[in-house]
């Protein structure tokens, strides 16, 4: 039981057509780039097709939950569904930033314990993790942004481009002011 097995289940869901393309997001995605922080759940960003839409236009996770229940996964922990020891939150693409982040996600061959072999998965790229954290904007999200900047784990040019294209400039300036840092995008444009 562990992340390898969790991702095996999610890969099987993708292969079976229960979910479309997916990628690891949130704190676990950040592990790929910066010092890890403890988290209890793994966020899975998923593409949503019309099959998951009710007549009202609302999205439903019904098919996912029913598929997983058949496989024996029906316990919830907080907002997530417990799959092989990890609480998994399926987060449908909800805006253009999510859509680009999912499309651009990095394919990785992840080996957690050498004796278990590896598992293929996708992880959001740093600029999208930071931009999403900026959009969500909780104090813990701001801490994550600081981590990426301090550890130089995000390409500033790529980040500034995402911030500009997705209308996050005001949120970014507010973050820079609160964090007491000079806007790196401003510095880049001057150089």
């Amino acid at each position: 039981m562990g992340m390898k097995q969790t991702l095996d289940v999610i890969n099987r869901m993708e292969a079976d057509g229960i979910i479309g393309r997916y990628a690891i997001a949130g704190a676990v995605a950040a592990y790929n780039y910066v010092e890890p922080t403890v988290t209890e759940d793994v966020d899975i960003l998923i593409a949503f097709d019309s099959g998951h839409r009710l007549q009202t236009g609302l999205l439903t996770l019904g098919p996912i939950l029913s598929y997983l229940k058949d496989k024996g996964y029906s316990d919830f922990r907080k907002e997530g569904l417990l799959i092989e020891g990890w609480s998994v939150q399926f987060i449908p693409v909800a805006n253009d930033l999510d859509a680009e982040a999912l499309a651009a996600a990095d394919e990785v061959d992840l080996e957690i314990h050498p004796n278990q072999g590896s598992v293929k998965t996708r992880v959001l790229r740093p600029q999208h993790i930071v931009a999403t954290a900026l959009r969500v904007g909780r104090p813990r999200d701001h801490l994550r942004i600081v981590q990426f900047l301090e550890e130089e784990a995000v390409d500033i040019e790529a980040l500034c481009d995402v911030i500009h294209r997705f209308g996050l400039r005001d949120a970014w300036l507010t973050f820079c002011r609160r964090a007491g840092i000079v806007d790196p995008c401003e510095i880049k444009s001057v150089l």
């Binding site: 010092e35 890890p36 403890v38 020891g85 992840l110 080996e111 314990h113 590896s118």
Partner: protein, 65 residues
């Protein structure tokens, strides 16, 4: 009465080692970090249980008789 000026040890070397340790961890592979977090979660489980018990007791007290 004037209080004597306290002298504190220089801990810059400790802080430097801690920062280096954090950088070492950050440089680990994705898989190594997940394995590390899984192990850490196991070690932290008793603390988590205590926290949950405290929260439960608090909410019982709040709902009161």
């Amino acid at each position: 009465m004037k209080r004597p000026k306290a002298t504190y040890p220089d801990i810059s070397d400790i802080l430097q080692r801690k920062a280096e340790g954090r950088r070492d961890i950050a440089r680990r592979t994705f898989g190594e970090k997940i394995a590390m977090m899984e192990a850490l979660r196991e070690r932290l489980a008793p603390f988590k249980q205590l926290r949950e018990r405290r929260r439960a007791a608090k909410s019982v007290r709040r709902s009161g008789p």
